[in-house]
Structures are given as C-alpha cells and as structure tokens.
C-alpha cells in the first residue's frame, strides 16, 4: 500500500489539503495496482481561527466520518483510508507567545546577548516585533522564518501530533516500499513561504538521522494566483500586501534554487498569471477565500510519478491563454474521469437519492416502493424495519447516520467543485464543470449530462444520462453485482453506475 503524508502549511496549504482530500475521495490517490493509498494529513497554521483552516478541517473530518461510517460496507466508494493528525501551531512551542518579541524575549536578549538583540532590532521593525501572530505571520516570511527556525523536530517527535505522524512515517517506511511526504504552501505569503522550506529541511534531516532515505520529501509550492480587493485600514497593523507577493516569490525561488535540494527531492511550482480576486483580510475567520483550480493542480503534483525522474522542479502550463480545459490537467484522462465521477456522484446523491430516502421516511414502504423499485435492492421492502434477507430497514438509525455522513461530505465536495469552477478570475474561463449544476437546488436533479464539460463527460446520449436511468440499472442489476446492502451499498452502487 502506498503511504502519503501530506502537510499543509498556512492558509493556502490548508486549501491544498482540502483539494487533496477530495482527490482522495474521488479515488485518485492510488498505487499503480489501483489499491487506494493511505493518506495522512497534518495542518500547520499559527492562525487557529483561520476560515481556510476550518474549511480544510471540515473536509477532512467529514470524509473521515463518512469513511468510518461506511466501513467495509462498500467495495469502491470512499475506499481511501484517511488519517487525520490534526492541526499544529508553530507558536504552540513558544510557551504561549503570540508576538515575535515574546518568542525572542528582548529584555533577556539585551542583557545576555546585546549583539543579537541589536541584530533582532535591525531585522525586524518595531511593528513586526509586537504584531500579534495569532492571525498568522501577516504575509511576512521573515517573521515566519524566525518562528519556524526554532522548531526542534527531535523535541516535537516526543509528544502530540508530530509524534503520531513521525511514528507512522517510520512504520510506513518499514512496511511499505512507497512512502511519500508532500508539503503544500504558498511561497508568496507568510506562513507557507517560511514554513514549507523550513519544515521540508527539518523532515529531511530527521529522515536522514533515522536512516529512512527511501522516503521522498516533495512540495507543491504555490506562486501568486490571487490579489486582494480592497485594502487594510490604519488599525490593521502589519498585514499581507499583494504588491509584496512578487518580491516574496522571487526571494523564495532564489532560496529554492540555492538550498532547495536540501529541503525537497522534488518540487512542483504552480501559479496563475490571471489572478482571482479575494477580499482583503488580515487572517482569522474573515479570510474565507474560495477554493481555486490552482490548489487542485498543486494537489495533483502528488500524483506525478517521480521515481524514474531526475528532474527537480516541475511546472505546468495551459494550452490556451484564456481558458482551461481537461487537457491542461496532468494525467487528464484518469484525473478527468475521477473528478467527473465525484461531481456526478455528489449531484446524484445529494440532489436526488438522499432526498428520495428522506421521502421514504414519510411513507409506508409499500407506497414508496411503488415509485422506487430500486430501493428494495438495498433495503428491506417491508415496514417492520428489521433485516430482510440481509437488507436493513430504510428507517434504521445506523443507515440514517450513514446517509447523513455522506450528505455532509457531498455538500463539502459540491461546494469545493462549485468554487473551483466559478472562481477563475476575470476574462478567464474553465471548461471543466458547469457551476450552476453544482450549486444547491430545490428541484431534484435528474439530468447528469451537463455537470461535466469537455472530454471528461461520459460518452452517452443526454437522454440516457439521467439519475432515472441509474435507478433503472440498479433495479435490474444481477444479484451478484450488489455485494453490499443498505446505505453504503446504495452509495457504492451509485459510485459504480454514475461513471
């Protein structure tokens, strides 16, 4: 089994992990035999109130809950195992310090090392020294670097989330030929730009000390792909400015070209010349930037085969300047099919099957069955609710909790797909999905044909590409093709038929 340990650093890193979880749900993180990989996710973020962090955590926990609820009840749907190592703040090691002058106590420095104190004053202006860092490193890589450089992985490996993850990395490296650590973060902001190279180097050094050189360390580094709309006011204090993005990027790339090899075995560089526009935010809960296609592309770096490649840096371009299509995605055939299946499944489940099951709660089973022959393949056709030929009742609480977990995850997936297909920047368009069909709707969805655009759209006539056709197929499937009953079996069957 392939083991992947993904570390998202900062807000953009968290968004990339969100994309990665959805790729995992779509079955796109597998080993060459098609066996789903085991994905471990770890978020590094000083801004614990970050809306981006919360979104990533939501996607992770919802997938985790769904996967746990389904258990062994499905053969194809949600088979990828996910291990959540949680969130860690680099400030957590600084005994509650929330500003740079608390991380490096100036009073102590002045008495014990006046030269260092003078250097500290020289490197960091007073407003940077006193800025509250509980909203992140405020788009300033030097602040982040100063905090991150104090991390001792040996010490962290003794307790908490780091310990759990590093033990798992060791175990995976012992038992599996294919273990990969992949870091995600921007190089133009504060947390990612300082954290990704620092953590990359720390992890690589730790692996060397552990004699685990077979474990590869990679990173997807995001170059500028958005701008801020609006600006900070006088009270905002130190904050990220989009005019600094290019400068930060240049510095990061220079560092990477000289020291990068000591941090990562391979890097994937991805940005966009056409920028998405996000409202200005210093961080925290107000930073609710919508998901972006670039984050998906960054996550796809993880799929890139690097075993037989000596190339260090991988970049990606598109064929046409004003439009992105499936052909622009790496390994577009497989990735397109996987994402198309995920989108079609989410729409069919959330906007049809799940509502049908809700409807079934209000009717006698006989009455519901008269309009839904497919339902008896997964649930008992009787009202009694107990098992019938191994099939549970449709009102069974366990089944309803599985339904709820699938609902919650598909809501997250649909929101993410909707955002990556609508948040493209002005004058630019995508030909991947139809955003309006991914949005919440009152009407029950039936036609699935237009959800996916371009070459990833399944090759069948529009008339037969409906949820109703799937229900008919379910109704007539041979007995041996419905291997699991209940809600998980229904989702599994839908996953197979919707492709």
């Amino acid at each position: 089994m392939k083991h992947i340990f993904a570390i998202g650093v900062g807000g953009t890193g968290a968004k990339c992990l969100e994309a990665l979880v959805h790729l995992h749900a779509c079955g796109l993180l597998s080993d060459p035999d098609g066996q789903p990989a085991r994905l471990g996710v770890f978020l590094v973020e000083p801004d614990q109130q970050s809306a981006l962090l919360a979104r990533a955590q939501t996607a992770i926990s919802r997938y985790e809950t769904m996967q746990r609820a389904i258990g062994r009840g499905a053969d194809y749907f949600a088979r990828g195992e996910l291990c959540n190592y949680g969130t860690w703040s680099p400030l957590a090691t600084s005994s509650g310090a929330i500003s740079l002058d608390q991380v490096f106590p100036k009073a102590v420095l002045r008495t014990q090392a006046p030269g260092v104190a003078a250097l500290f004053d020289c490197l960091f202006p007073p407003e940077e020294q006193t800025a509250d860092l509980d909203v992140g490193f405020r788009g300033r890589p030097p602040i982040g670097s100063a905090v991150m450089s104090r991390i001792s992985l040996e010490k962290e490996a003794q307790v908490g989330q780091w310990q759990r993850m590093l033990v798992d990395i060791q175990t995976a490296a012992e038992n599996s030929e294919s273990t990969l650590i992949h870091l995600f973060g921007s190089v133009f902001g504060g947390t990612g730009a300082s954290g990704v190279p620092t953590l990359g180097q720390l992890i690589k050094d730790w692996l060397t000390r552990q004699g685990r050189n077979s474990v590869k360390v990679q990173a997807s580094l995001l170059l500028p792909y958005f701008d801020f709309e609006g600006a900070a006011n006088e009270d905002t204090g130190v904050h990220a400015e989009s005019r600094s993005f290019q400068l930060n990027t240049n510095a990061a790339l220079q560092y990477l070209s000289s020291r990068g090899i000591s941090c990562f075995d391979h890097v994937f560089l991805i940005g966009s010349d056409i920028k998405a526009r996000y409202g200005f935010s210093i961080g925290g809960m107000s930073q609710s930037n919508a998901a972006h296609l670039v984050e998906l592309l960054a996550a796809l770096g993880l799929r890139h085969p690097t075993q037989n490649s000596n190339a260090y840096a991988h970049v990606l371009s598109r064929a046409q300047s004003q439009v992105v299509t499936w052909q622009d995605l790496p390994d577009d055939e497989l990735v397109g099919n996987g994402l198309a299946r995920g989108a079609r499944f989410a729409v069919a489940w959330r906007h049809n099957f799940s509502r049908e099951i809700d409807e079934a709660q209000k009717l006698s089973m006989r009455s519901f069955l008269s309009g839904a022959p497919w339902v008896r393949r997964f649930f008992s056709p009787h009202n009694s609710g107990g098992n019938h030929a191994g099939r549970p009742g449709i009102r069974d609480n366990t089944q309803l909790s599985i339904q709820s977990s699938i609902n919650q995850y598909t809501d997250t997936l649909l929101q993410w797909l909707n955002q990556i297909s609508s948040n493209v920047g002005s004058g630019f368009k995508q030909e991947l999905f139809t955003p309006s069909l991914l949005a919440p709707a009152d009407q029950l969805a039936n036609n699935l044909h237009k959800i996916v655009q371009g070459k990833a759209r399944p090759r069948r006539s529009e008339n037969s590409d409906t949820v109703e056709a799937i229900k008919v197929a379910m109704d007539w499937l041979p007995e041996d093709q419905i291997t699991h009953p209940g809600m998980a079996g229904l989702a599994d069957c839908l996953w197979l038929l919707v492709a």
Partner: protein, 178 residues
C-alpha cells in the same frame, strides 16, 4: 424495456387474444348457455352479432390503452419516486374508463345499435334489441372485468418499463416483496 418484459408483454397479448376470440365464446356457449338464453334470444346469433363484436371493439380499446400506457412510461423520465407515483391515478382512470367502455360496447351491440337503425336482431320479432336476461348481463359484466385483467392489468403489471414497473396496483406484492 428488458427482454423478459418484452416476452411477458407478447405472451400477455397472445393469451388475451386467445381468451377474447376463442375461449370466451367457447365458455359462453358451453358452460353458461343457460344464463344468456332467454325468450326469443338465440345464443349463437347473439354471440355472432352481439357479444363477439362488442368484445372485439373492447379488445381494441384495451390494446390502445396498453399502447398509450407503454408509450407514456417508456418515454417519461421522472426524477423522483413521487413523480412515478403520480402516474398511479392515471392507471386507475384508464382501468375505470375501459370498464365503462366495455359496458358501452356491450350496450351498443346488444341494445342501441338496433334501436338506432330501427331493426330487430331477431328475425320475425318486434323487439329492436337482444333481450339478454339479468343473469346474462352479470355474466357479460364479469367477462368485461376478466378481459380488463387479462388485457390491461396483467401486461401492465408484468411489463411496465423502467421506474414505473411497480406503480401498477399489485405489482409491489407480486414482484417487489422479495
């Protein structure tokens, strides 16, 4: 439609034809002749010019309803089970309509046709209708209901396509309770 449904539909139509055009007359002639024979009523004449034409027209009515039912259920693409269930009243309406149509057919060929033309179905008799006794009417109405079951209910319950296949009354009990 599934091959098995095509076979079921074909079989039902064949059985229906055999029932209406062969067995029904044989039963009337050989099992219940006493119920139809009355003063001045020749059973063979009545079967030839009264009940047989009535049941033939009724058969065409049932086949037409069957075609309409199958064309509706084959072409519709309901997005929900509720939309499917909404078709059930249509089936009942068709069934009730067919019963009424069957009774009208019998009435026409037994009574009204002769009254409209002003002729008598019985040679040398003044009555301008077939004087079918009350027991005979009950028997004929029973055959209308049996014909409805054989010609409409049975094919629709066994061969209604797609998600509509359990919408016909009795389908859930017959096919969906396993």
């Amino acid at each position: 439609m599934r091959p098995s449904q095509f076979i079921a539909l074909g079989s039902c139509v064949a059985i229906g034809m055999a029932w209406v055009f062969l067995m029904q007359n044989w039963i009337l002639l050989n099992i219940f002749p006493g119920l139809l024979v009355g003063p001045g009523l020749n059973l063979k004449d009545y079967l030839q010019t009264g009940s047989s034409p009535a049941f033939t027209v009724f058969w065409f009515g049932c086949i037409t309803a069957l075609l309409l039912w199958f064309s509706t259920t084959l072409t519709a693409r309901p997005s929900s089970s509720r939309q499917v269930r909404q078709v059930q009243p249509l089936w009942w309406l068709a069934s009730i309509g067919l019963v009424v149509f069957g009774l009208l057919c019998l009435s026409w060929f037994t009574i009204f046709r002769w009254q409209v033309t002003g002729t008598s179905p019985i040679e040398g008799n003044a009555v301008n209708f077939y004087p079918v006794p009350a027991g005979g009417w009950f028997l004929l109405i029973g055959f209308v209901l049996i014909d409805l079951i054989v010609l409409f209910w049975l094919p629709t319950v066994l061969a209604t396509p797609r998600t509509y296949r359990f919408v016909v009354p009795g389908a859930v009990t017959l096919l969906g309770s396993r």
